[in-house]
Protein backbone atom coordinates (compact mmCIF):
# COMPACT_ATOMS: atom_id res chain seq x y z
CA UNK A 1 0.00 0.00 0.00
CA UNK A 2 1.25 3.45 -0.84
CA UNK A 3 -0.33 6.57 0.50
CA UNK A 4 0.11 9.98 -0.98
CA UNK A 5 2.10 12.09 1.38
CA UNK A 6 1.26 15.72 1.86
CA UNK A 7 4.28 17.63 0.66
CA UNK A 8 3.76 20.44 3.12
CA UNK A 9 4.32 18.31 6.23
CA UNK A 10 7.52 16.41 7.07
CA UNK A 11 7.03 12.66 6.55
CA UNK A 12 7.93 11.74 10.14
CA UNK A 13 5.07 13.95 11.36
CA UNK A 14 2.74 12.23 8.93
CA UNK A 15 3.89 8.89 10.31
CA UNK A 16 2.84 10.13 13.74
CA UNK A 17 -0.56 11.33 12.36
CA UNK A 18 -1.24 7.95 10.77
CA UNK A 19 -0.66 6.17 14.07
CA UNK A 20 -2.67 8.82 15.96
CA UNK A 21 -5.57 8.37 13.54
CA UNK A 22 -5.45 4.62 14.12
CA UNK A 23 -5.53 5.18 17.88
CA UNK A 24 -8.47 7.61 17.58
CA UNK A 25 -10.46 5.25 15.33
CA UNK A 26 -9.83 2.24 17.53
CA UNK A 27 -7.48 0.28 15.26
CA UNK A 28 -5.01 0.25 18.14
CA UNK A 29 -6.56 0.24 21.63
CA UNK A 30 -5.04 1.05 25.01
CA UNK A 31 -2.11 -1.25 25.91
CA UNK A 32 -2.20 -2.84 22.47
CA UNK A 33 0.91 -3.00 20.35
CA UNK A 34 1.22 -0.67 17.36
CA UNK A 35 2.92 -1.68 14.09
CA UNK A 36 6.65 -2.34 14.31
CA UNK A 37 9.06 -0.08 12.46
CA UNK A 38 9.74 -2.81 9.89
CA UNK A 39 6.00 -3.45 9.32
CA UNK A 40 5.21 0.25 9.03
CA UNK A 41 8.16 0.86 6.74
CA UNK A 42 7.15 -1.97 4.42
CA UNK A 43 3.43 -1.19 4.46
CA UNK A 44 3.82 2.48 3.57
CA UNK A 45 7.23 2.24 1.85
CA UNK A 46 8.92 4.78 4.05
CA UNK A 47 12.53 4.79 5.18
CA UNK A 48 12.75 3.07 8.61
CA UNK A 49 14.76 5.99 10.03
CA UNK A 50 11.81 8.26 9.25
CA UNK A 51 9.38 5.84 10.91
CA UNK A 52 11.58 5.70 14.03
CA UNK A 53 11.55 9.49 14.17
CA UNK A 54 7.75 9.61 13.83
CA UNK A 55 7.20 7.03 16.58
CA UNK A 56 9.77 8.95 18.66
CA UNK A 57 7.45 11.97 18.57
CA UNK A 58 4.63 9.87 20.03
CA UNK A 59 6.91 8.46 22.74
CA UNK A 60 7.99 11.96 23.78
CA UNK A 61 4.36 13.04 24.01
CA UNK A 62 3.46 9.98 26.08
CA UNK A 63 1.02 8.70 23.45
CA UNK A 64 2.82 5.37 23.09
CA UNK A 65 5.27 3.68 25.43
CA UNK A 66 8.05 1.20 24.92
CA UNK A 67 8.17 -2.30 26.37
CA UNK A 68 11.76 -3.37 26.16
CA UNK A 69 12.27 -6.17 23.65
CA UNK A 70 8.58 -6.24 22.71
CA UNK A 71 7.73 -3.03 20.90
CA UNK A 72 5.56 0.06 21.23
CA UNK A 73 2.21 0.10 23.02
CA UNK A 74 -0.69 2.56 23.29
CA UNK A 75 -0.71 4.60 26.52
CA UNK A 76 -3.81 4.68 28.75
CA UNK A 77 -4.51 8.37 28.09
CA UNK A 78 -3.38 8.35 24.45
CA UNK A 79 -6.73 9.45 23.02
CA UNK A 80 -7.06 12.43 25.34
CA UNK A 81 -3.51 13.53 24.63
CA UNK A 82 -3.97 13.25 20.88
CA UNK A 83 -7.24 15.19 21.01
CA UNK A 84 -5.69 17.94 23.13
CA UNK A 85 -2.75 18.29 20.76
CA UNK A 86 -4.89 18.23 17.67
CA UNK A 87 -7.39 20.72 19.06
CA UNK A 88 -4.54 23.14 19.48
CA UNK A 89 -3.45 22.54 15.91
CA UNK A 90 -7.05 22.90 14.71
CA UNK A 91 -7.26 26.24 16.47
CA UNK A 92 -3.88 27.73 15.62
CA UNK A 93 -3.22 26.35 12.15
CA UNK A 94 -6.36 25.15 10.41
CA UNK A 95 -8.57 28.00 11.59
CA UNK A 96 -5.84 30.52 10.81
CA UNK A 97 -5.62 29.21 7.23
CA UNK A 98 -9.39 29.28 6.96
CA UNK A 99 -9.50 32.89 8.16
CA UNK A 100 -6.80 33.99 5.76
CA UNK A 101 -8.90 32.60 2.89
CA UNK A 102 -12.01 34.26 4.36
CA UNK A 103 -10.16 37.60 4.43
CA UNK A 104 -9.35 37.29 0.73
CA UNK A 105 -13.07 36.72 0.08
CA UNK A 106 -14.13 39.60 2.32
CA UNK A 107 -16.23 37.37 4.61
CA UNK A 108 -17.17 38.79 8.02
CA UNK A 109 -16.87 36.77 11.22
CA UNK A 110 -20.70 36.56 11.47
CA UNK A 111 -20.95 35.25 7.92
CA UNK A 112 -18.35 32.58 8.67
CA UNK A 113 -20.11 31.54 11.87
CA UNK A 114 -23.43 31.28 10.02
CA UNK A 115 -21.82 29.07 7.40
CA UNK A 116 -20.45 26.78 10.10
CA UNK A 117 -23.84 26.58 11.82
CA UNK A 118 -25.50 25.78 8.51
CA UNK A 119 -23.04 22.91 7.86
CA UNK A 120 -23.48 21.56 11.39
CA UNK A 121 -27.27 21.36 10.84
CA UNK A 122 -26.96 19.40 7.58
Amino acid sequence: MTITFDENIPIFQQVAYIIEDDILNGTFRVDEQILSVAQFSQLFQINPATVVKGIGLLVNEGIVYKKRGLGMFVSADAKVKIQQKRKERFHKEMLADLLSEADKLGLTTDEIINMIKQLRKD
Binding site: P10, F12, V37, S41, Q42, Q45, N47, T50
Partner: protein, 289 residues
Amino acid sequence: MSIALACDNITKSYGATTALRNLSLQLEEGAIYGLLGRNGAGKTTLLNTIAGGIGADSGTIEVYGRKLSKREQPNACCYVRAEFSHFGGARVIEVLQIAAAVYPHWDWDYARELLKLFLIDPGQKIRQLSSGTRSLIGNIIGLASRAPLTLYDEPVLGLDVLMRERFYKALMEDYANHPRTILLSTHLIDEIAPIVEKICILEAGSLLLQENMEQIRMSAYLIRGNSEAVASFTSGKRVIYQEAYGRGMLAAIYEKLDDQKTRFAKEQGLSIETLSLQKLFLYLIEGGL
Protein backbone atom coordinates in the same frame (compact mmCIF):
# COMPACT_ATOMS: atom_id res chain seq x y z
CA MET B 1 28.16 7.27 12.85
CA SER B 2 30.88 5.51 10.89
CA ILE B 3 31.58 6.10 7.23
CA ALA B 4 30.90 3.29 4.76
CA LEU B 5 32.25 5.03 1.71
CA ALA B 6 34.51 8.03 1.26
CA CYS B 7 35.38 9.38 -2.17
CA ASP B 8 37.98 12.10 -2.09
CA ASN B 9 38.64 14.45 -4.97
CA ILE B 10 37.88 12.00 -7.75
CA THR B 11 38.37 13.06 -11.35
CA LYS B 12 37.65 10.90 -14.37
CA SER B 13 37.81 12.01 -18.00
CA TYR B 14 36.93 10.25 -21.21
CA GLY B 15 39.05 12.03 -23.80
CA ALA B 16 37.97 15.65 -23.78
CA THR B 17 34.91 14.95 -21.63
CA THR B 18 35.26 15.24 -17.86
CA ALA B 19 32.74 12.83 -16.32
CA LEU B 20 33.72 13.41 -12.67
CA ARG B 21 35.28 16.64 -11.53
CA ASN B 22 37.09 16.73 -8.14
CA LEU B 23 34.18 14.88 -6.62
CA SER B 24 34.17 14.23 -2.88
CA LEU B 25 31.40 12.27 -1.23
CA GLN B 26 30.91 10.46 2.07
CA LEU B 27 28.21 7.93 2.83
CA GLU B 28 27.30 7.10 6.42
CA GLU B 29 26.95 3.47 7.31
CA GLY B 30 23.39 2.10 7.37
CA ALA B 31 21.63 4.82 5.39
CA ILE B 32 19.87 4.79 2.01
CA TYR B 33 21.03 7.48 -0.38
CA GLY B 34 19.32 8.61 -3.57
CA LEU B 35 21.70 9.64 -6.35
CA LEU B 36 20.10 12.17 -8.68
CA GLY B 37 21.38 13.92 -11.76
CA ARG B 38 20.55 14.57 -15.37
CA ASN B 39 21.66 12.28 -18.17
CA GLY B 40 25.42 12.61 -18.46
CA ALA B 41 25.84 14.16 -15.00
CA GLY B 42 28.24 11.36 -14.02
CA LYS B 43 26.03 9.01 -11.97
CA THR B 44 26.99 5.76 -13.70
CA THR B 45 30.67 6.75 -13.88
CA LEU B 46 30.63 7.43 -10.14
CA LEU B 47 28.97 4.11 -9.28
CA ASN B 48 31.22 2.17 -11.62
CA THR B 49 34.33 3.88 -10.23
CA ILE B 50 33.37 2.99 -6.65
CA ALA B 51 32.75 -0.61 -7.72
CA GLY B 52 36.17 -0.76 -9.41
CA GLY B 53 34.80 -1.15 -12.94
CA ILE B 54 36.72 1.93 -14.05
CA GLY B 55 39.78 3.56 -12.57
CA ALA B 56 39.69 7.25 -11.65
CA ASP B 57 42.37 9.53 -13.13
CA SER B 58 43.01 10.95 -9.66
CA GLY B 59 41.53 10.90 -6.17
CA THR B 60 40.99 8.15 -3.62
CA ILE B 61 38.17 5.84 -2.57
CA GLU B 62 37.88 4.29 0.88
CA VAL B 63 35.37 1.56 1.73
CA TYR B 64 34.89 0.97 5.46
CA GLY B 65 38.08 2.90 6.20
CA ARG B 66 40.31 0.96 3.81
CA LYS B 67 41.77 2.74 0.82
CA LEU B 68 41.18 0.88 -2.43
CA SER B 69 43.87 0.42 -5.03
CA LYS B 70 43.02 1.50 -8.56
CA ARG B 71 40.22 -0.59 -10.07
CA GLU B 72 40.00 -2.74 -6.96
CA GLN B 73 36.56 -4.30 -6.58
CA PRO B 74 35.69 -3.97 -2.90
CA ASN B 75 34.44 -7.21 -1.31
CA ALA B 76 31.81 -5.45 0.75
CA CYS B 77 30.22 -3.93 -2.32
CA CYS B 78 27.53 -5.17 -4.70
CA TYR B 79 27.10 -3.02 -7.81
CA VAL B 80 23.88 -3.54 -9.76
CA ARG B 81 24.31 -2.13 -13.24
CA ALA B 82 21.42 -0.61 -15.16
CA GLU B 83 19.50 -3.24 -17.15
CA PHE B 84 21.45 -6.32 -16.20
CA SER B 85 22.85 -7.71 -19.45
CA HIS B 86 25.76 -10.02 -18.61
CA PHE B 87 25.78 -13.69 -19.57
CA GLY B 88 23.04 -13.27 -22.19
CA GLY B 89 23.12 -16.98 -23.05
CA ALA B 90 22.88 -18.13 -19.43
CA ARG B 91 19.67 -19.02 -17.62
CA VAL B 92 18.43 -16.88 -14.74
CA ILE B 93 19.20 -19.60 -12.22
CA GLU B 94 22.78 -19.92 -13.51
CA VAL B 95 23.32 -16.18 -13.15
CA LEU B 96 22.08 -16.38 -9.57
CA GLN B 97 24.47 -19.30 -8.93
CA ILE B 98 27.36 -17.10 -10.07
CA ALA B 99 26.18 -14.29 -7.77
CA ALA B 100 25.86 -16.76 -4.88
CA ALA B 101 29.51 -17.72 -5.36
CA VAL B 102 30.64 -14.09 -5.46
CA TYR B 103 28.76 -12.59 -2.50
CA PRO B 104 29.60 -14.04 0.93
CA HIS B 105 26.29 -13.03 2.56
CA TRP B 106 24.13 -14.44 -0.27
CA ASP B 107 20.70 -15.74 0.88
CA TRP B 108 19.28 -18.42 -1.45
CA ASP B 109 15.89 -18.65 0.27
CA TYR B 110 15.43 -14.93 -0.17
CA ALA B 111 16.56 -15.04 -3.83
CA ARG B 112 13.94 -17.75 -4.57
CA GLU B 113 11.28 -15.74 -2.77
CA LEU B 114 12.16 -12.71 -4.92
CA LEU B 115 11.93 -14.75 -8.16
CA LYS B 116 8.34 -15.58 -7.18
CA LEU B 117 7.59 -12.00 -6.10
CA PHE B 118 8.84 -10.63 -9.43
CA LEU B 119 7.16 -13.44 -11.42
CA ILE B 120 10.40 -14.61 -13.06
CA ASP B 121 10.91 -18.11 -14.46
CA PRO B 122 14.43 -19.16 -13.34
CA GLY B 123 14.80 -21.39 -16.41
CA GLN B 124 14.62 -18.52 -18.91
CA LYS B 125 17.69 -17.22 -20.68
CA ILE B 126 18.80 -13.68 -19.88
CA ARG B 127 18.63 -12.53 -23.50
CA GLN B 128 15.00 -13.65 -23.77
CA LEU B 129 13.95 -11.32 -20.97
CA SER B 130 12.43 -7.88 -21.40
CA SER B 131 14.53 -4.93 -20.27
CA GLY B 132 12.36 -4.48 -17.17
CA THR B 133 12.79 -8.13 -16.20
CA ARG B 134 16.55 -7.82 -16.67
CA SER B 135 16.51 -4.88 -14.27
CA LEU B 136 14.69 -7.15 -11.81
CA ILE B 137 17.40 -9.84 -12.11
CA GLY B 138 19.96 -7.20 -11.11
CA ASN B 139 17.72 -6.13 -8.24
CA ILE B 140 17.37 -9.72 -6.98
CA ILE B 141 21.17 -9.93 -6.90
CA GLY B 142 21.39 -6.57 -5.12
CA LEU B 143 18.84 -7.64 -2.47
CA ALA B 144 19.91 -11.27 -1.94
CA SER B 145 23.64 -10.40 -1.88
CA ARG B 146 23.03 -8.61 1.45
CA ALA B 147 26.25 -6.73 0.69
CA PRO B 148 27.10 -4.08 3.32
CA LEU B 149 27.39 -1.50 0.52
CA THR B 150 24.93 -1.92 -2.36
CA LEU B 151 24.97 0.35 -5.40
CA TYR B 152 21.98 0.35 -7.76
CA ASP B 153 22.15 2.12 -11.09
CA GLU B 154 18.58 2.85 -12.21
CA PRO B 155 17.03 -0.20 -10.55
CA VAL B 156 13.49 0.63 -11.73
CA LEU B 157 14.39 1.31 -15.37
CA GLY B 158 11.80 -0.35 -17.57
CA LEU B 159 9.71 -1.66 -14.66
CA ASP B 160 5.94 -1.30 -14.70
CA VAL B 161 4.26 0.35 -11.73
CA LEU B 162 3.39 -2.98 -10.04
CA MET B 163 6.98 -4.22 -10.17
CA ARG B 164 8.35 -0.83 -9.06
CA GLU B 165 6.11 -0.92 -6.00
CA ARG B 166 7.10 -4.53 -5.28
CA PHE B 167 10.76 -3.62 -5.56
CA TYR B 168 10.45 -0.59 -3.24
CA LYS B 169 8.54 -2.70 -0.74
CA ALA B 170 11.13 -5.50 -0.83
CA LEU B 171 13.92 -2.95 -0.51
CA MET B 172 12.30 -1.37 2.56
CA GLU B 173 11.48 -4.66 4.23
CA ASP B 174 14.91 -6.18 3.71
CA TYR B 175 16.66 -2.96 4.71
CA ALA B 176 14.66 -2.79 7.94
CA ASN B 177 15.64 -6.39 8.77
CA HIS B 178 19.20 -6.23 7.44
CA PRO B 179 20.41 -2.61 7.60
CA ARG B 180 23.17 -1.69 5.14
CA THR B 181 24.38 1.24 3.11
CA ILE B 182 22.58 1.75 -0.18
CA LEU B 183 23.24 4.22 -2.97
CA LEU B 184 20.56 4.22 -5.65
CA SER B 185 20.40 6.31 -8.81
CA THR B 186 17.08 7.08 -10.48
CA HIS B 187 15.19 9.53 -12.64
CA LEU B 188 11.89 8.75 -10.88
CA ILE B 189 12.71 11.26 -8.19
CA ASP B 190 9.43 11.63 -6.34
CA GLU B 191 8.98 7.86 -6.12
CA ILE B 192 12.12 7.42 -4.06
CA ALA B 193 11.66 10.51 -1.87
CA PRO B 194 9.98 8.63 1.03
CA ILE B 195 12.35 5.67 0.70
CA VAL B 196 15.70 7.38 0.92
CA GLU B 197 17.14 9.07 3.98
CA LYS B 198 19.56 11.32 2.13
CA ILE B 199 19.98 12.74 -1.33
CA CYS B 200 23.07 13.42 -3.45
CA ILE B 201 22.62 15.54 -6.56
CA LEU B 202 25.30 15.38 -9.26
CA GLU B 203 25.62 18.04 -11.91
CA ALA B 204 28.38 18.14 -14.55
CA GLY B 205 30.51 15.65 -12.61
CA SER B 206 30.38 17.52 -9.29
CA LEU B 207 28.30 17.13 -6.17
CA LEU B 208 25.72 19.93 -6.24
CA LEU B 209 23.88 19.06 -3.04
CA GLN B 210 24.03 16.39 -0.35
CA GLU B 211 21.33 16.63 2.28
CA ASN B 212 18.94 14.81 4.54
CA MET B 213 15.49 14.27 3.01
CA GLU B 214 13.73 15.72 6.06
CA GLN B 215 15.98 18.76 5.94
CA ILE B 216 15.14 19.26 2.28
CA ARG B 217 11.42 19.02 2.97
CA MET B 218 11.74 21.75 5.57
CA SER B 219 13.91 23.99 3.39
CA ALA B 220 12.57 23.91 -0.16
CA TYR B 221 9.71 26.32 -0.87
CA LEU B 222 7.98 27.94 -3.77
CA ILE B 223 6.81 31.50 -3.09
CA ARG B 224 4.30 33.18 -5.37
CA GLY B 225 2.64 36.56 -5.38
CA ASN B 226 3.07 40.22 -6.09
CA SER B 227 6.62 40.95 -7.34
CA GLU B 228 7.46 43.48 -4.63
CA ALA B 229 6.15 41.31 -1.81
CA VAL B 230 8.07 38.29 -3.15
CA ALA B 231 11.25 40.34 -3.57
CA SER B 232 11.03 41.75 -0.05
CA PHE B 233 10.29 38.34 1.50
CA THR B 234 13.07 36.53 -0.36
CA SER B 235 15.65 39.25 0.19
CA GLY B 236 18.59 37.83 2.15
CA LYS B 237 17.34 34.27 1.55
CA ARG B 238 18.89 31.69 -0.74
CA VAL B 239 16.88 32.05 -3.95
CA ILE B 240 17.58 29.17 -6.33
CA TYR B 241 15.23 30.15 -9.12
CA GLN B 242 12.90 32.99 -9.99
CA GLU B 243 10.63 33.91 -12.81
CA ALA B 244 8.50 37.02 -13.29
CA TYR B 245 5.02 37.02 -14.80
CA GLY B 246 3.19 40.35 -15.25
CA ARG B 247 3.21 41.98 -11.80
CA GLY B 248 3.72 38.61 -10.22
CA MET B 249 6.79 36.64 -9.31
CA LEU B 250 7.54 33.02 -8.64
CA ALA B 251 10.59 32.26 -6.52
CA ALA B 252 12.02 28.95 -5.36
CA ILE B 253 14.03 29.32 -2.18
CA TYR B 254 16.21 26.92 -0.25
CA GLU B 255 16.05 28.04 3.35
CA LYS B 256 14.54 26.64 6.51
CA LEU B 257 11.38 28.59 7.36
CA ASP B 258 9.77 28.40 10.79
CA ASP B 259 6.02 28.80 11.40
CA GLN B 260 6.45 32.47 12.17
CA LYS B 261 8.11 33.22 8.83
CA THR B 262 5.54 31.13 6.97
CA ARG B 263 2.71 32.98 8.72
CA PHE B 264 4.36 36.32 7.93
CA ALA B 265 4.55 35.37 4.23
CA LYS B 266 0.86 34.45 4.21
CA GLU B 267 -0.03 37.76 5.88
CA GLN B 268 1.81 39.53 3.04
CA GLY B 269 -0.60 37.79 0.65
CA LEU B 270 2.04 35.38 -0.60
CA SER B 271 1.31 31.80 -1.43
CA ILE B 272 3.90 29.49 0.03
CA GLU B 273 4.19 25.80 -0.60
CA THR B 274 6.76 23.07 -0.10
CA LEU B 275 8.61 21.96 -3.20
CA SER B 276 8.60 18.29 -4.08
CA LEU B 277 12.06 16.78 -4.44
CA GLN B 278 11.59 16.62 -8.19
CA LYS B 279 10.70 20.31 -8.41
CA LEU B 280 13.62 21.25 -6.17
CA PHE B 281 15.92 19.24 -8.41
CA LEU B 282 14.52 20.97 -11.48
CA TYR B 283 14.90 24.47 -10.06
CA LEU B 284 18.41 23.75 -8.78
CA ILE B 285 19.47 22.61 -12.24
CA GLU B 286 17.59 25.39 -14.09
CA GLY B 287 18.66 28.13 -11.74
CA GLY B 288 22.22 26.90 -11.38
CA LEU B 289 22.06 27.87 -7.66
